[in-house]
């Protein structure tokens, strides 16, 4: 069995083959998306959901808190971005900062309620709170625009010191989103390999022990909930820009369930890259199976059920098994190359 907490031979160095491959795909996507019959906008959507999924996995996979209401924070980010553009000023950085801030505050408040809950209780409470936000978004008509949401959210220019870039076209917006995603991935990779990230995983593995070796488990869970909500807020801000609107649908139980589904299918419980695979698989299924049949969600749902039954470690687990079979070399003990052994 593999686990998220396996020690890689390269420690926390970001220079892994997976990272290289991902960066390559991300940075070349605009050149091959259309030739293979897909479209630019899909790239933006996938990049945003990857960002959301990776931030979510901090909570879901790393610390083991199984939230089922995380769509709420994406939605809050989207609304905050839109409201800022419409009510305060048309500004990219301002909008994104407000999106992150709003989701962080909401996450901090909900985290305060739920962080001492465990197991199914935690999941139920996150569902309930997710619904609170979803419902508020529908009902606070004068602020959120009700069921239709906020329409006509602009894509503000990217201002970097003296330079200004127009990112209102899908082609250019993609580059902006891709770079934000790349920076976020590097940050998350550092975070999960830093002491703090290992502590998160220690809490998942054994909360009692973590407490008895001096960690304030509640505080760390709350922090993780909040940080994860902040990433969702960032993704939400970008999503509002991509969609040029913000609507309650992304906050529904359905969407919150879908993100859990993507993360699990990809193998978020066993690999940092799991959420990425899961998001890719979902969108490929949506656009490719969806091209053949209206009921693609039926087949995706069935596949998901089988996966939960047979191979809950997801696609990453499957890849690991296949690789081991080819490598033929059992990796029972991993020794980081630069460690003084037996010292």
């Amino acid at each position: 069995m593999i686990s998220l907490s396996d020690v890689s031979a390269r420690g926390g160095s970001p220079m892994t083959p997976a990272m290289g491959l991902f960066a390559l795909l991300l940075l070349t996507a605009p050149f091959w998306l259309e030739p293979i019959g897909l479209y630019q906008y899909l790239g933006i959507e996938i990049a945003i959901w990857i960002l959301f999924a990776l931030g979510f996995n901090l909570l879901f996979g790393y610390i083991g808190l199984h939230s089922f209401g995380h769509g709420a924070y994406l939605g809050i980010g989207a609304y905050a971005f839109g409201l800022f553009q419409q009510e305060v000023a048309v500004s990219l950085w301002g909008g994104l900062a407000v999106a992150i801030l709003a989701a962080t505050i909401a996450g901090a408040i909900v985290g305060g309620f739920v962080s001492h809950r465990r197991g199914i209780y935690f999941a139920l409470m996150t569902i309930a709170f997710g619904q609170v936000f979803w419902f508020a978004a529908i009902k606070l008509h004068s602020i959120t625009g009700g069921e239709d949401g906020l329409l006509g959210i602009p894509r503000p220019d990217l201002v970097l010191g003296p330079f200004e870039f127009d990112i209102s076209k899908n082609g250019t917006l993609y580059w902006f989103v891709a770079i934000i995603l790349l920076i976020s991935i590097l940050a998350l990779w550092r975070l999960v390999n830093a002491p703090f990230g290992r502590v998160l995983q220690a809490i998942r593995q054994n909360e009692t022990r973590a407490r008895f070796i001096g960690y304030n488990v509640w505080l760390i869970k709350w922090l993780t909930f909040t940080v994860s909500a902040a990433f969702a807020g960032l993704a939400g801000g970008l999503f509002a820009m991509a969609q040029e609107s913000a609507y309650p649908d992304v906050m529904s139980l359905h969407q919150s369930g879908l993100i859990v589904m993507m993360v699990l299918v990809g193998g978020g419980l066993v690999s940092f890259w799991g959420p990425v695979l899961g998001v890719l698989l979902y969108f490929i299924a949506r656009d490719i199976i969806g091209g053949f049949t209206e009921t693609w969600l039926l087949w995706f749902g069935l596949m998901f059920m089988i996966m939960v039954m047979v191979r809950p470690e997801g696609l990453s687990g499957l890849i690991h098994v296949v690789r081991q079979r080819f490598a033929q070399a059992p990796q029972n003990s991993i020794t980081p190359a630069d460690t003084p052994e037996g010292a």
Partner: protein, 306 residues
């Protein structure tokens, strides 16, 4: 004060309806320790099966179908109330069989599997019955409206509330006063005991899930004339069920009933003064209760937390 009475009655009726939705859900959570996200889909499935029964869809356009449609609506309605839940129970049992590999693992997997099942059931409904709004006809005797205290009440709502009361009483009687109930309750806390008594635990789980699913299906048939019938109706109705379970305390039978009544009352009374906010009051109630008593009204420490 007097003008509040109809709203209180309205609220109580609504509360009973909510309780009926939450009933099967709380049974499965309490006994099987599985959050059945497909509960709403089973609710919808029961309603659609009921629809098919009343409309005689099973027979197609054969002579048998024509004969069936010539029968009085009351008779067809009663057979829908029987056949719908039975078929929903069958669907529930299939879900339970799929759930088996997840027992003994983290509760997350049960949650995810039932989420997948919910998607599948919803898609199947779209495929078979289409995406449009459907209407479940009810007999004349319980249809229509009457006036009370200047407010119009629907007869059917009262019938549904009465039905909910009977269902709650029957489930309670089954769990508390019959040997089967005792075994089911033992199974939820002590699977060793159930085995020692010579009962087959997997059969027990199958039956409990089927039972919970049939209550969901029943609620679907009873309630869809009030709330309408769409493929995603499951998601709409399962949300109050979640809130009710959390407010009442996970796994607590009377907690769920109490919470349902409270929610119904708060929705009904807010409806009198600020109709736009009536549903929101349910969420505020949740935050208030959970803020004071995070385990819910009648919740106790449970194995679900581990």
């Amino acid at each position: 004060m007097m003008e509040l009475v109809p709203h209180i009655i309205n609220g109580l009726t609504l509360g009973l309806l909510f309780a009926l939705i939450a009933l099967g859900f709380t049974l499965i959570v309490g006994v099987m320790e599985v959050i059945n996200l497909a509960h709403g889909s089973l609710f919808a499935l029961g309603a659609y099966f009921g629809l098919a029964t009343i409309g005689g869809d099973w027979f197609g356009s054969t002579g048998l179908g024509a004969w069936w449609l010539s029968l009085p609506i009351g008779m067809r309605y009663v057979s829908a109330i029987i056949i719908g839940p039975l078929l929903a129970a069958g669907a529930g049992m299939i879900i339970e069989i799929c759930l088996r590999p997840t027992y003994g693992k983290v509760p997350l997997y049960g949650l995810l599997l039932t989420f997948g099942a919910a998607l599948v059931v919803e898609e199947v409904i779209r495929l078979v019955w289409g995406t449009g709004e459907q209407n479940l006809t009810v007999p004349q005797a319980i249809n229509g409206a009457f006036l009370m205290g200047g407010l119009i009440f629907s007869k059917y709502k009262f019938f549904a509330a009465g039905f909910a009361m009977v269902a709650i009483g029957a489930v309670w009687f089954f769990l508390e006063r019959t040997p089967y109930g005792a075994i089911i309750k033992a199974g939820s806390h002590d699977s060793e005991m159930v085995r020692a008594l010579g009962y087959d635990l997997s059969k027990l789980r199958l039956l409990v899930f089927g039972f919970g699913a049939s209550i969901a299906g029943l609620a679907g048939i009873i309630l869809s004339p009030i709330w309408g019938l769409r493929p995603h109706v499951g998601l709409d109705v399962v949300i109050p069920a979640f809130l009710i379970i959390v407010i009442g305390g996970v796994g607590s039978f009377w907690g769920a009933v109490l919470a349902a009544l409270l929610v119904g009352m708060s929705v009904g009374i807010t409806g009198a003064y600020a109709p736009a906010w009536s549903m929101m009051s349910m969420y505020l109630l949740l935050i208030a209760v959970v803020g004071v008593r995070s385990r819910g009204l009648l919740g106790h420490k449970s194995a679900l937390e581990n």
